[in-house]
């Protein structure tokens, strides 16, 4: 494109976050735009559609106070880019990458297109290095792997922030001491929530190795469209140019999707489910797929997006489309939270699709896959019996049923529940699992190889590896 920048004051229409500029010429699709308000204030925008003499522009700062008379629009001839350098660690920016920390602008080693390019599937390396988060419900049941995208599906008022902070504090890859970095993108979260993360990162020293992009609840909503892209472009630079293992926390994707919906409504697009645009899957994939490993490169991007499920409904389009793209999900439960269990992870709907390659002999422990499988089947059975008991009482239960009930109770209070600062090893997690499985008759352990039963079952003289 490389057109020189051109300025027009021919705004003909303003709808929601969108303006129409007429009598223009040679405007490139996706071009960055600077809008000068009647007051002289400047806002950032981007071309959503271009025609021979007309451009449709989304205004990230919102259209309040914008007029069709004085307001002028400068088309830059460039697509949106972010300045990047190794010095960016430790910096704090707002949602459109303006410094909030009093530091000056980043002196760029490189300017990068924030939409990035798709990783060639052939260049990807299948992620296999398991991360020990120290949290049993994750490590034992849904192991996280370096280069994975694993979202937390939460609900309003549930402790997803505590969990994300605990993962950030404790995450490590066994036997490896390597360069790590945290990239944090806030989209519409409160000042209080942002302050919590800042405090936590500061107290552990993670802040020096972090880059923060903060679009808070009272910041312009449309900016949220670019905040995660700034974060991921930064992460790609750190991971694949600077060889770092980058953990990206994105919160809250539900707010991001609201902004998408707002733009779609303003453009009068045909809505998909519940008013969200039909292309939301593709749009979200453009965010979530920017995770992984590349063959021959040292670094990695692990994504931990957080989203709140409206009405705790996992079939709502935001969690639903997310689950269809990410490599599993950690689901928080209001019931467990009410029972006082932290972390209130309902393991049944949870999944880690990359777990398989990251566990087992030489990685976590040889019995891990079987134990995980058995725990799932036993816990599901226990929950089924519990629901039955709610109707018919405990009288009609067999001995085995009762044992399943006991298992289920202790599974929640001893395996799932743990302290916010309690950091369990893989081995500890698996040992607790065996302890609990030994409540059940051995003939019920159908999913565990007899070798492992002989080796790890407490009844056979506990093996301590």
């Amino acid at each position: 494109m490389a057109e020189p920048s051109r300025e027009y004051s021919t705004v003909s229409k303003v709808v929601g976050p969108i303006i129409v500029v007429d009598d223009v010429e040679g405007i490139g699709y996706s071009e960055v735009v600077e809008i000068t308000m009647p007051s002289g204030e400047k806002r950032l925008g981007q071309v959503l559609e271009t025609q021979s003499t007309r451009a449709i522009v989304q205004v990230f700062g919102g259209t309040r106070d914008l007029d069709t008379d004085i307001t002028s629009v400068r088309f830059s001839g460039e697509i949106m880019k972010i300045p990047l350098s190794g010095e960016i660690l430790g910096r704090i920016f707002n949602g459109i990458a303006h410094p909030l920390d009093g530091g000056g602008p980043v002196i760029p080693e490189e300017m990068r297109d924030i939409y990035g390019l798709p990783i060639n599937p052939y260049a990807r390396e299948h992620p296999r290095d398991s991360i020990e988060t120290g949290i049993s419900a994750i490590d034992g049941m849904n192991t996280l792997v370096r280069g994975q995208k694993l979202p937390i599906f939460s609900g309003a008022g549930l402790p997803h922030n505590l969990l994300a902070a605990q993962i950030t504090r404790q995450a490590k890859v066994l036997g490896q001491e390597e360069d790590f970095a945290v990239v944090f993108a806030a989209m519409g979260i409160t000042h209080e929530e942002a302050a919590f993360f800042l405090r936590d990162f500061r107290s552990t020293g993670a802040l020096e190795r972090a880059v923060l992009f903060l679009n808070l609840a009272d910041d312009p909503a449309i900016e949220r469209i670019i905040t995660p892209r700034l974060a991921l472009t930064t992460a790609e630079f750190l991971a694949f140019e600077k060889d770092m293992h980058v953990l990206v926390i994105l919160t809250d994707l539900t707010n991001y999707c609201e902004s998408l919906r707002e733009i779609a409504a303003a453009r009068e697009e045909v809505p998909g489910r519940r008013g969200y645009p039909g292309y939301m899957y593709t749009d979200l994939a453009g965010i979530y797929e920017r995770a992984g490993r590349i063959a021959g490169k040292k670094g990695s991007i692990t994504q931990l997006p957080i989203l709140t499920m409206p009405d705790d409904d996992i079939t709502h389009p935001v969690p639903d489309l997310t689950g269809y793209i990410t490599e599993g999900q950690i689901v928080l439960s209001r019931d467990l939270h009410r029972k006082g269990i932290y972390p209130p992870i309902n393991v049944l709907p949870c999944l880690s699709r990359l777990m398989q390659g990251g566990i087992g002999e030489g990685r976590t422990r040889e019995d891990h896959a079987d134990v995980n499988n058995q725990l799932y089947s036993a816990y599901a059975q226990g929950i089924k019996i519990k629901n039955l008991v709610a109707v018919i009482g405990e009288e009609g239960l067999s001995d085995t049923d009762r044992q399943y009930l006991a298992f289920t109770e202790r599974f929640e209070t001893e395996f799932i529940a743990q302290g916010q600062y309690e950091d369990r090893s893989f081995h500890r997690t698996l040992d607790i699992a065996w302890e609990l499985l030994s409540i059940l008759p051995q003939s019920e352990l159908k999913r565990i190889d007899t070798r492992f039963v002989a080796k790890y079952h407490p009844a056979h003289g506990r093996h301590q590896a």
Partner: protein, 587 residues
């Protein structure tokens, strides 16, 4: 190539409008803008064409040119396809990675098949032979098991004027000339074919043989045939991709085409790392050698995603035309449908149900219609087949949505995945009450003749027990299990045993991952032996609880994971143990 150019008048996402294109044809490929991005005409009105662009359109400016090519979107078919990985419009991802970078940039275009590689060509016709479309000119042994037939392209016939002698040739060298009157056709080892048109066949035949997948619940309860169609819908995380990978690994087809349509990059990486290390149980060849991978992941351009299923099925048809049994997996057809919806939305077409275009149903039908067992073109009597297995990803796991419903109207096999089963890690999470196969009868004949006489009876009894279990569960929910009569308790226990010892199959276990037809039959026989003994025990007033506590129960649950070379001894051991344990109960 025509030099006539149009002018861009509008750009919105992957859709570009250009005027001045009078005379252009529907589905013609054009080059868009200064960077000459590849696009395809999808609507025409007067001289204005709507173009879907297969690459990112950022930076395109109205006023830039659109060049016509006169060609429709086509694929190159010839030696070198096997083991390759392509994007949705057949760009070779491996070569692009080697020549460019780890990230796919715009304008990265390379020939789909290596032009430098020399192939050993072995002629099968002589000068003067009369040939027509589909006849074999010669063969290239592409791997130890796949001989790649070099065929006369559809629509060409005449006498062989020249045929190359045995030797090595590149795909650009002429290996035959065919003369028909005064028309002469120079043929190479490559054909081009427009992806949106089905390749011709002589005759469609009824599918007869099962496609053995090694997945017990599929082969036994809900079989698919060679040439059959199946849909596998389910919510996220219920196991669509794993089932499709399992089929790609173990199905007894000659050629596998796997289309990753709008799904995850890491899943493609998984296939690329794992498949070359696995051996075809039939031939001992690395599984990658019989496979073609189309990878247009969710973050790659959406228009190329729309094209990817056509690219895949055309390649499948080409191998079918050689007389092979091809199995094609499309993961996920919903992402394809969404690509249609996305493009249609940008065109401001009148939306149908849930915003999908009104032609959704007919596009799906046209696609599945390209499956089937056929008499292939040419003078021989050879048959070939394409089995199509499409994943469907319904929003919220709700099967009443348009893509699932339209698909169900077409396909003959339905594997309904169930999140409850997945939550308790019962895999494959195929719901045995909702799923069905309309091929049961044809397939039953094959099993009876080739594997064992009781197969039909076993299968029927299994289905019956599972249905009874479902009815009894309803009662249990109200009154608890203890009040049921012993006979019913035994039914529940039998159904549980079928579920846990037969239907559940762990894809990641080195042995459980695949169960051949013979072993499936022996496992069923073992279970029914057990059931017969259990029935007898009940007559001796032994309770279901006592039977449930027999240690042999766990051995039955592990039958699938017994290594192949130990099957005979282990199964014999289970039989003996079973008899002894019942004997101890007094049976």
């Amino acid at each position: 190539m025509t030099s006539q150019a149009g002018v861009i008048i509008r750009v919105t996402g992957p859709v570009v409008l250009a005027s001045g294109l009078r005379g252009a044809r529907m589905f013609e490929i054009v080059k868009v803008g200064r960077q000459e991005l590849i696009g395809e005409i999808i609507t025409l009105e007067e001289d204005v064409a709507t173009i879907q662009v297969y690459e990112e359109t950022a930076g395109i400016v109205p006023g830039e040119a659109v060049l016509r090519t006169g060609e429709s979107l086509s694929v190159e078919l010839g030696p070198g396809l096997l083991g390759n990985i392509y994007d949705g419009i057949q760009r070779p991802l491996r070569e692009i990675n080697v020549l460019w970078a780890d990230f796919i940039s715009r304008g990265a275009t390379l020939p789909a098949l290596s032009e430098a590689k020399k192939w050993e060509f072995d002629p099968k016709v002589k000068e003067g032979d009369q040939v027509s479309g589909g006849d074999t000119l010669g063969v290239v042994q592409e791997s130890t098991t796949i001989s790649h037939k070099i065929m006369v392209p559809p629509g060409i016939s005449g006498r062989i004027h020249m045929i190359a002698s045995a030797g090595t040739y590149t795909i650009r060298e002429t290996i035959a000339t065919v003369r028909n009157g005064d028309r002469v056709f120079d043929l190479t080892m490559v054909q081009r074919w427009p992806v949106r048109s089905a390749r011709p066949v002589k005759e469609k035949l009824d599918p007869q043989k099962p496609l053995i997948t090694g997945q017990r619940i599929i082969d036994t309860l809900f079989p698919i045939t060679k040439g059959g169609t199946a849909a596998i819908p389910g919510p996220f995380g219920s196991g669509k991709t794993v089932v499709q990978h399992q089929l790609a690994k173990w199905a007894d087809a000659d050629i596998i085409v796997f289309i990753g349509c709008g799904e995850r990059g890491n899943e493609m990486a998984d296939v690329l790392t794992e498949f070359p290390t696995l051996e075809d149980p039939k031939t001992g060849e690395p599984l990658m050698n019989r496979m073609i991978l189309i990878a247009n992941t969710s973050n790659m351009p959406v228009a190329a995603r729309e094209a990817s299923v056509y690219t895949g099925i055309t390649i499948a048809e080409y191998f079918r035309d050689m007389g092979y049994d091809v199995a094609l997996m499309a993961d996920s057809t919903s992402r394809w449908a969404e690509a249609m919806r996305e493009i249609s939305g940008r065109l401001e077409e009148m939306p149908g149900e849930e915003g999908y275009p009104a032609y959704l149903g007919s596009r799906l039908a046209d696609f599945y219609e390209r499956a089937g067992r056929v008499l292939v073109c040419g003078s021989g009597k050879e048959t070939g087949s394409i089995s199509v297995i499409g994943a469907v990803s319904p929003p919220g796991g709700d099967f009443s949505e348009p893509v699932t419903q339209n698909t169900l109207r077409i396909v003959k096999v339905f594997w309904a995945l169930d999140s409850d089963l997945a939550y308790r890690r019962h895999f494959p999470a195929i719901n045995w009450l909702l799923s069905y196969s309309l091929y049961g009868e044809e397939v039953g004949r094959w099993w009876t003749e080739n594997i064992g006489p009781e197969w039909v009876a076993y299968r029927k009894e299994m289905m019956l027990l599972l249905q009874k279990e479902n009815e009894l569960e309803e009662i249990v929910k109200l009154v608890g299990p203890e009040v049921l009569p012993e006979e019913d308790k035994l039914v529940l226990f039998k159904a549980e045993t079928i579920r846990e010892s037969y239907l559940a199959q762990y894809a990641f276990h080195p042995h459980d991952t695949y169960t051949g037809a013979g072993r499936q039959y022996r496992m069923m026989a073992m279970l029914f032996d057990f059931f017969t003994l259990a029935d007898r025990a009940l007559e001796h007033n032994i309770t279901t609880e006592q039977i449930r506590n027999l240690p042999v129960k766990t051995a039955l649950a592990r039958m699938g994971s017994v290594p192949k070379d130990m099957e005979e001894t282990e199964f014999a051991g289970i039989k003996t143990a079973m008899a002894a344990q019942f004997k101890e109960l007094g049976v």
